[in-house]
Amino acid sequence: MIRRTILIFIAATLLSTGVIHSAQAENPFIIVQSTTSTQNSGLFDDLLPKFTAKTGIDVRVVAVGTGQAIRNASNGDGDVLFVHSKPSEEKFVSDGLGVSRADVMYNDFVIVGPASDPAGVAGTKNVTEAFTKIASSKSIFASRGDDSGTHKAELRLWKSAGIDPSEASGTWYRETGSGMGATLNTGTGMGAYVMTDRATWTAFGNKGTHEIVVEGDPNMFNQYGVILVNPDAHPHVKADMAQRFIDWLLSPEGQTAIADYQLDGQQLFFPNAGSGPS
């Protein structure tokens, strides 16, 4: 009885493995190493089916922080890198790991905070001023602390404000070491200020009483770039299909698709292929 049950169980398991594998083998695919903001905002769910319908190529997205995405792509675990930290992207290319980098789209970072606004920064257009007020009032600030694109941008802004928040780490400056969503969950939970990209915030479902308090500073510009992983470094990279995806993203058709994506009637990403500020 038991033996038969176990045999049936093993057979069923192996069978289901085979069935699911064959179901997946329908389309050729590429792997894109990307960031959580592009996935959590719903952009990829909208964009990728359009590309697949046109080309028959499936796009498998691994959405992690920019730092981890670049590391994975450096190991050759992806055909395309689609992230938002220009200095790291340029280093990736100059290290010979990527072929070339192209601007795709941008949005902006915002600072969200509790409605009570303990640092009194609401309505500030200048992020340096806002960071100075947050630091001097020792208001709680939740940082990604995970080497992601957003984290790197945040550190650049602290630096331009002449503040070294790492000295306050564990007191008012709290590094969650987590993704954008987890950091926002923590931030809304502890009444902290958080710097986030606008797309993730707009799509975020657990805002609590938090709202955008600082926005509109040109320094909070957030550029996304796309890079073909270098087949010379990793010969198994599916360069032809990956290049088709990149070309499509940068084409008028792909750019229009990016501009058309809206959430709650709001455009989240602004295409700027070939025209982005350098």
Binding site: M1, I2, T5, F9, I10, T13, L14, S16, T17, I20, H21, Q24, I31, T36, Q39, N40, D45, R60, V61, V62, A63, N72, N75, G76, D77, G179, M180, G181, A182, L184, N185, A203, F204, G205, N206, K207, H234, H236
Partner: protein, 235 residues
Amino acid sequence: MDSFWNVLASAVGLVFAFDPDLMEIVGLSMQVTLSAVAIACLIGFPLGAIAGAFRFPGRTLLSIVLNALMGLPPVVVGLLVYLMLSASGPLGPLGLLYTPTAMIIAQTVLVTPIVAALTKQVVEDLYQEYGEQFTSLGVGPLDRVMALLWDARYSLLTVALAGFGRAVAEVGAVIIVGGNINHVTRVMTTTIALETSKGNLELALALGVILLAIAFAVNALVMTLRASAVRAAYA
């Protein structure tokens, strides 16, 4: 408490909507977890039986290692398997990273020590009773292992369920080696992590309730089978 009832309601709603995406995710979860537990049992039962029934040099060390590995952090296992399967790793040419197979491998690594360590304990206790008989009857090593495993079969079901519990609840390893790719490697736990990161806490919790219900159903099924088998055995 409002949100708690909302969560329950949306969990029930999700189940009865028979959403094809949800069905696919649940199916893949079960496929990955059951495969991993099956392989872990194939390795862990004999390994545990050998450790439990024989005296050999390094036996104590093996027991300590198995017991210690029961506490393996899933993220560490995920990283190890990632480094093995990465295109730059030793097994890179197999192209297994970001596939369900990679997730099965990671969970097998997590679950095998649990199955082996618990099997060892079960078999060791049984061997206290059987040891002298085996010796007097001149039973060979292979037959000893088979006989011990067969007579311990009801306890071993519980052992397998312990492994199942570990695997089905695990997210740290499968999200690294699977990549949480939609329609390819997205399972229940990685979906819960994703929805949590989107701030959709109620949806995440509703999915958690469904996962719990599935785990409950699997346990109930196995325990029912076990009870009827026990009855049949002593009837």
